[in-house]
Symmetry: C2
Subunit: 149 residues, 2 copies
Amino acid sequence: MSDRLFLEDLVVGQRFVSAAREVSADEIKEFAARYDPQPFHLDDAAAMGTLFGGLAASGWHTAAMTMPMVIDSVPMEGGIIGSGGELLWLRPVRPGDRLHVETEVLEITPSRSRPERGTAVMRCTTLNQHGEAVQTFTPKIVVPRRPAG
Amino acid sequence: MSDRLFLEDLVVGQRFVSAAREVSADEIKEFAARYDPQPFHLDDAAAMGTLFGGLAASGWHTAAMTMPMVIDSVPMEGGIIGSGGELLWLRPVRPGDRLHVETEVLEITPSRSRPERGTAVMRCTTLNQHGEAVQTFTPKIVVPRRPAG
């Protein structure tokens, strides 16, 4: 008996809330140096004169930090495998922010051609310590169906 | 005289092609360990028995690797600042794959309220060495207008 979730265990409106994790300036700069090397993600002083008005995490860093929180809080059988969806960055993520993720099941669709699986659309909202959404991601996830018997 | 692009320099249908970069198994596992710790992104043997049928990069890693290629190939004034868009993963990215990015301008919209800027919708397609699209991302980007005079 697994405590992982199959398609049959999901309900539209079901919600999952992750633990929180803090974001450091060092981590913001380290991620940016490798994957998004632009002044507003790399350097406090240079970031002041930009649209961000101060150091902000790369959106890709926010997305990357969000993923382990989804994995830990949404115990899907077989893991979290998605084909993508709408990704929106709503507010800057700043050094010292404390993020968590709230996931809601929006749609559940058994596959017509593959009886062993289906898909679920989920909205994963990443929030800061003020309860403000900094990112939403609304992926379609592949979810196995519970084996018969 | 800057050689960076302002909103006035963009044309619908305009295309930008990046240089290519190779993806290593070590980098796939290193990214996954930190940001997407699931067996199909971490371990060759464990990945064989999953939907991926072998080690594959995290979609977030593909997205992260795509970003420096966009930054280098799309010389937007002020950098690449997006509010998000549709992100789709179309095929697995494997160790040894050689990726590049092709970006196309889809829409150009001057801001009504902010005369100094506008937005552009771009489609950034990440392709492998076989010319197969592995990811598309279609963000809305903030682009400054050329200062008068």
